[in-house]
């Protein structure tokens, strides 16, 4: 009986939490269209989330491209299809690895920082201080972060794709001896416009997931150091899992 009670209360808690998260997101969107529009805050967040994540994104993408080329070359060579290395690397990057890995890097770096920042502001009652100054904390803190992440992640994904394909070229062509002409011509022939906008659509939705989950967890963290640590961990894990789950559903629709 205790187990059934536990199952029931867990299910109710999850449904309540999902409802709260959804209302939180709606409130953040509602403030998008109401002044003041906080362009300065948005630019500051784009700098933090986008520009400052670019190094780790470039680092991840170059090695991803390189290992993809390494694995791909030896697999394709079995069928005498080394000439398709470029299309294998570019399609994998643009359709899947770019959006997913770049978003996971943003989650780990910027998402955790967002949760920690908001959680600390909650614990030290700086959010209450904003309310006493008649400033809506959602509008001041959350909406700029959501907008900035949704704008920054597709840009980071684009960088990831380009650098990853270049990394694949470095290993496939320069190191393993595949033909440069074949590499780039297979990239050009394989990649279609729908692959690119499919990747961008994924990036936009992943950016929304990262900001939504990380902002929510930070904003509603419990008032203790342990609570803050828990919130940061939960934010990263939940955002990462949601990205992977949503990636599957979006891929099944796009393909």
């Amino acid at each position: 009986m205790l187990f059934i009670h536990y199952l029931g209360s867990s299910a109710l808690f999850m449904i309540e939490e999902m409802g709260k998260m959804f209302l939180f997101l709606l409130s953040a969107f509602a403030w998008l269209v109401r002044p003041p529009f906080r362009f300065r805050q948005i630019m500051k967040q784009i700098h933090f989330i986008g520009f400052k994540s670019s190094f780790v994104v470039v680092l991840t993408s170059v090695f991803t491209g390189m290992v993809l080329a390494l694995q791909g070359y030896y697999s394709l060579r079995k069928f005498g299809a080394e000439g398709l290395l470029g299309s294998a690397v570019s399609l994998s990057m643009i359709r899947e690895l770019g959006p997913v890995l770049a978003s996971l890097m943003v989650t780990a770096r910027a998402g955790s920082a967002i949760t920690a920042e908001l959680g600390l502001m909650r614990i030290t009652e700086q959010i209450d201080a904003l309310e006493t100054m008649a400033i809506n904390p959602l509008q001041y803190l959350i909406t700029p972060k959501v907008v900035a992440t949704v704008l920054a992640v597709p840009l980071l994904v684009s960088i990831f794709d380009v650098v990853g394909i270049t990394g694949g070229y470095l290993v496939g062509v320069k190191l393993l001896g595949a033909s440069a002409g074949s590499y780039w011509s297979s990239v050009e022939s394989a990649v279609e416009w729908k692959d690119v906008y499919g990747g961008i659509l994924k990036a936009l939705s992943f950016g929304l997931i990262v900001s939504w989950v990380c902002c929510y967890k930070g904003y509603f963290t419990s008032m203790s150091a342990e609570g803050l640590g828990k919130a940061t961990t939960e934010a990263v894990v939940l955002a990462s899992v949601l990205i992977l789950v949503w990636d599957y559903f979006l891929t099944s629709v796009l393909l």
Partner: protein, 248 residues
Amino acid sequence: MIHLEGVEKKLSGQPVLRGVNLEIPAGKLTTIIGPSGEGKSVLLKHMIGLMQPDRGRVLVNGVDISRLRGKKLNEVRKQFAMLFQSAKLFDSMTVFENVSFPLREKKLASEADLKKMVEGMLERVGLEGMGHKYPAELSGGMKKRAGLARALVMGPDIILFDEPTTGLDPLMAKTIHDLIVSMHRVFGFTAVMVSHEIPEIFGISDWVAMLKNGTIAAMAPSHDFQRLDNPIVQEFISPGALLVPLST
């Protein structure tokens, strides 16, 4: 100015406020005292709408704020400023940025005027030349003074002080009290202060109210409060002799 009628509040199922009736006189400095954990800070948060009562009303200049939300509540909050226990400065901003924050948000001054107003206010609270420092670089007393400057810079009608001298040494506590009194005389705002500093608060307050068992046990002008023939008040403000003499 601020009127609480039958305010009740439970936190985590425990009754904290059990029907508070309190009227805060306009333009005066009213101090709320009472044992720790009685709900003084909770009472203060009700006055600015940071908490809503389970029952009862909170009236600010005749407007019931206990059921207000969003834009309407923010309109009422524009009359307020609050100095929290730990000043609640934004730790990613310098002192100057903290004090100028409400002015910038409300776009109430040009950059040149803003600079003059903020520097003037920092000078008033004894923090001239400290504008470039971050809150982590300040002492407790300096943080309180920065918080006071931020509260005053908008020229509010009502300022709430939540234990402004907690954690400070007696000398710094006196400095903060003197600052609050002098600012009150200069700007004439309505002040509501929660404090444990007995007997110092009798020298600086116009009115004193005592919160006990979730209700207002007594309220009187400061000079009359100590002479009240109320055992609850007397027990609190003059606790019994030491059980063990200090020396023979």
